[in-house]
């Protein structure tokens, strides 16, 4: 019961882990390169979510341009970090996609299995 309560309390953990595992699973099982990129993003996102979640305090406020006195304030740092992280993630995604495009130009497919097939046929 305690565990369940803990779990319920820290549900964002669970969500993040589930997302992470989904990403991982996708990465493992799909041969479509685009899907892999997406999986990568899902994994990133799970971490971002976790990060943001832990920075959030129920009832707190963002300490932006306002004096909040003695009340809770939300740590702005995770948010800032995640922004950076997202930017980085986007650039990686963009780069990965550009690679996929290039690969598609060579093989006419984005499916890893088919690429392998094509290559093995060439040899």
């Amino acid at each position: 019961m305690e565990t369940l309560k803990n779990l319920a309390h820290n549900y964002y953990y669970l969500v993040a882990v589930v997302l992470f595992v989904i990403g991982m699973h996708t990465m493992l099982t799909h041969s479509n390169l685009i899907k892999k990129v997406i999986a990568m993003n899902i994994m990133d996102t799970s971490v971002f979510l976790l990060f943001v979640a832990i920075g959030y305090i129920r009832g707190g406020q963002a300490p932006i341009m306002r004096d909040i006195g003695d009340g809770f304030y939300i740590n702005p740092l995770p948010g800032a970090l995640i922004l950076t992280g997202i930017v980085v993630g986007v650039s990686v995604t963009a780069y990965a996609l550009s690679l996929v495009v290039k690969i598609y130009r060579y093989y006419g497919t984005v499916d890893a299995d088919e690429i392998v097939e094509i290559r093995s046929r060439e040899q």
Binding site: M24, M27, L28, T29, H30, S31, L33, K36, I103, A112, D113, I115, V116, E117, R119, S120, R121, Q123
Partner: protein, 792 residues
């Protein structure tokens, strides 16, 4: 630490003179040997002159030493040569040998002048002949065992060249045997000397029995082997009957007459000096020496008997002589054994031995040279093919007769004297201890002597009596030098034979005194009467016995019986041993070596194989991926089905939507109609009411038309959408089908084992990505597990 190059004389004692003369006597022939080699092939007379001169000078030098040797000893030490220092010491025993050596050598060189004229490669022959003289003199001049060993080895190697002079197959084989046994003997000596040195800290030839400690038996056996090989003591004699006959006759004469005596000399030095207690009274030591003497005595008996027996059975003249040498060395060894057996009383045995050494040198050298002369002139040595030469070369026959009488021990010839002494020594031992075995030994001695007579009768008959074979029926002329040499030998034999006491008293007795013999035997010796009834009687017995043996033997042809080869000690003992040894060494060694090499090879190839296996891990990882790929494919299939279901759901939704739209259209129609009706009603109203109403009606109509158009457009859009959905669903289904087909194709290919690129996993970049991610996850899992395991 760094001593000067020159020798340092040892301290002078009253009787111990110091002179470098022995060194020069040894060195002179060694240098002359080298010089002879340098003289070259062509200058024949110079070579002869140098050889003769060198041997003569050596003889003179030895003679020069005589007074000093009689007076005491002459010593000279070359300190630091060969680290341990070389030590030369001439005492009377050594001098006797040296004199003998120098004399016989000189005669042999003289004989060679004529004999070798017919032989090839004279340069080498003379060179090594003279060189060997130096080495042999070195052996007897050596003052310690170390020096003795040095010259002993030199002698072995230089005389080897003399043995194989003929260089035919027989000579080479005999030479090889001689050489290897010589080397083995040398090694035994080496070991013995080493043991001696480590036990006592000295290698001097002085009584040391008390200090030898527990290894004395081993030392003695090793010495006995080392010297015994050279001396030809049974069963180490096997090289002798092979090597002596094949050498050129003068060399054979030296080998048989002198060099085997070097072995005897060694045995003498070891048994009678080294293995003697340093002081009187140590009873256990004396009994030990006596035991050694007993063994030695029996060795001598066995040697003399078997040698004589074998000699009797030979057909080759030189072979007979060679076996005779074995037999005679047996006498000598027996005498030494008797001397050691009796301890300080053993003067008789010693005297007999030394006397016999002297005598044997003369008559055996003479005999070989006579046979050599025969060979030189007839080129034949096999008795059946010889005969009747007494008429052709009477001088040789006479000389032979003299020498044969000498060796047979006929009174009046030299052999008689020594054999008598030896016989007396044996009898004395028997009388002293009274063992039956010694009585037996004495009987064997007599029989052997008889056998000796027998084989010389056989030899003489074979060479000189009977009809002359046709091939040899021509006149022969003996060269002058040959006559001189043979004459000299005959004179020596006769001289000693007629005046036996002269040699005995002049040199042998002082030598015996030198070795410390005393007691009754020595007194007896001092006034020994050779020509009295008792010894003559013994000789008579021998002669009678010889006739008893020879006559039936010759008539029945016993002596022509050639013992089968397998019976020989060579075939019985040595060949199997050698073969076993070589087999063990060669096969064993090679096997081990190959095995080690193979282990290396195998381990390296195994390692390579291992690497290949490990390298295959990549490949198998790939296979693993394939399986995971199949799983993934299955997963994908299932998700595909979900897709289809979704498709269907969409399609149904679409249909439902269409139906919905249909109904909306109906509603629209209905509305339209309603509007129209309302319009009509309104028109009717306007008709009734006026223009305003008409305008309103028109606007309504327009709006209605627009609305209808809209509705129609919406319907068409819906149809298009529907169609698209259907088509998309079909396409998806088709794609899925194709995918399945391709996968079937793939799996078929895979099953057929023709999946082409399996062997180069690194080419599968992208495909591996799945697996790599799996790996990453797995590693993460493992590390998590470990960390949690330990972290909690």
């Amino acid at each position: 630490m760094f001593a000067g190059p020159e020798g340092v004389p040892v301290t002078r004692e009253l009787l111990h003179g110091s002179s470098s003369l022995p060194v020069w006597i040894v060195l002179l022939p060694l240098l002359a040997g080298a010089l002879l080699y340098l003289i070259g092939e062509k200058r024949e007379s110079l070579r002869k002159a140098v050889a003769l001169g060198a041997s003569f000078l050596a003889l003179v030098g030895v003679a020069w030493l005589m007074p000093a040797a009689l007076a005491g000893t002459v010593e000279y030490r070359l300190a630091d040569f060969m680290q341990l220092g070389l030590f030369f010491k001439v005492d009377l025993v050594g001098w006797i040998f040296a004199g003998l050596i120098a004399l016989v050598w000189f005669l042999a060189v003289l004989f060679s002048l004529a004999y070798m004229d017919h032989e090839h490669n004279r340069r080498r022959y003379y060179s090594f002949l003279i060189f060997t003289l130096g080495a042999t003199l070195g052996v007897v001049f050596a003052g310690d065992f170390f020096t003795l060993f040095l010259f002993f080895e030199l002698m072995t190697f230089s005389s080897f060249v003399l043995v194989i002079h003929e260089q035919n197959r027989q000579a080479m084989e005999a030479g090889a045997l001689y050489l290897y046994l010589g080397v083995a003997g040398g090694l035994a000596l080496f070991f013995a000397i080493l043991l001696l040195y480590s036990a006592t800290g000295t290698v001097s030839i002085v009584p040391l029995l008390g200090q030898l400690g527990g290894q004395r038996t081993l030392i003695y056996i090793l010495f006995l082997i080392g010297f015994g090989i050279k001396a030809g003591v049974v069963p180490l004699h096997i090289w002798l009957p092979q090597a002596h006959p094949v050498a050129p006759s003068p060399a054979s004469a030296l080998l048989s007459g002198i060099m085997i005596k070097a072995g005897a000399y060694g045995i003498l030095r070891v048994t009678l000096i080294l293995f003697t207690p340093a002081e009187h009274g140590a009873a256990s030591l004396w009994s030990y020496q006596s035991l050694l003497g007993y063994i030695l005595l029996w060795l001598g008996i066995v040697t003399m008997f078997s040698g004589a027996l074998m000699a009797l059975l030979q057909q080759n003249a030189k072979r007979i002589l060679a076996y005779s040498s074995v037999s005679q060395i047996g006498y000598i060894v027996m005498g030494l054994g008797a001397a050691a057996y009796m301890g300080l009383e053993g003067g008789m045995g010693f005297a007999g031995s030394v006397y016999h050494i002297i005598n044997h040198a003369f008559f055996k050298a003479g005999l070989f040279m006579i046979v050599g002369t025969v060979y030189m002139l007839t080129h034949e040595l096999e008795l059946p093919r010889l005969g009747g030469l007494a008429r052709k070369m009477p001088f040789a026959a006479a000389a032979f007769l003299v020498a044969a009488c000498g060796i047979a021990g006929i009174p009046g010839f030299n052999g008689y004297a020594s054999k008598t002494l030896l016989h007396d020594a044996l009898l004395e031992a028997y009388k002293h201890f009274g063992f039956f075995s010694l009585y037996l030994a004495e009987r064997i001695f007599v029989v052997t002597s008889a056998l000796t007579v027998c084989y010389f009768i056989k030899l003489f008959r074979g060479l000189f009596l009977g009809p002359v074979p046709e091939k040899l029926d021509r006149s022969y002329r003996l060269p002058l030098s040959v006559r001189a040499v043979l004459g000299a030998f005959s004179l020596l034999i006769l001289g000693i034979g007629l005046f036996p006491n002269l040699v005995l008293e002049k040199v042998i007795l002082p030598a015996a005194h030198l070795l410390g013999f005393e007691g009754y035997g020595m007194k007896h010796l001092a006034h020994f009467h050779f020509f009295e009834l008792h010894p003559l009687e013994a000789m008579g017995v021998v002669l009678v016995l010889a006739l008893v043996i020879y006559l039936p033997g010759a008539l029945r042809g016993w002596f022509n019986w050639a013992p089968p080869r397998w019976l020989s000690i060579h075939a019985l003992l040595y060949q199997p041993l050698t073969r076993l040894f070589m087999l063990a060494v060669c096969r064993g060694g090679s096997f081990l070596d190959l095995a080690v090499g193979k282990i290396y090879d195998n381990s390296s190839s195994a390692a390579r194989l291992w690497c290949r296996y490990i390298g295959d891990i990549d490949t198998s990882l790939d296979r693993l991926y394939e399986r995971s790929g199949q799983v993934a494919r299955g997963l994908a299939d299932r998700s595909n089905r979900v897709d289809q279901a979704l498709d269907e759901a969409y399609a149904k939704t679409g249909r439902a939507a269409r139906r919905l739209v249909d109904r909306t259209t109906d509603l629209d129609h209905a509305l339209d109609e309603a509007y129209a009706k309302t319009g009509q009603a309104a028109r009717r109203l306007v008709d009734r009411a006026g223009d305003f109403d008409h305008a309103l009606d028109q606007s309504y109509e327009t709006a209605g038309r627009i609305a209808r158009g809209l509705a129609r457009e919406g319907k068409r859009f819906d149809e298009v959408l529907d169609e698209a959905y259907t088509k998309a669903g079909e396409g998806a289904r088709r794609l899925a089908g194709k995918g399945r087909e391709w996968e079937n194709e793939q799996s078929r290919l895979r099953e057929a084992g023709s999946a082409p690129s399996r062997w180069n996993p690194s080419q599968w970049n992208i495909k591996n990505l799945n697996f790599d991610s799996l790996l990453l996850a797995a590693v993460l899992g493992v590390i998590l597990f470990i960390i949690f395991y330990y972290g909690r």
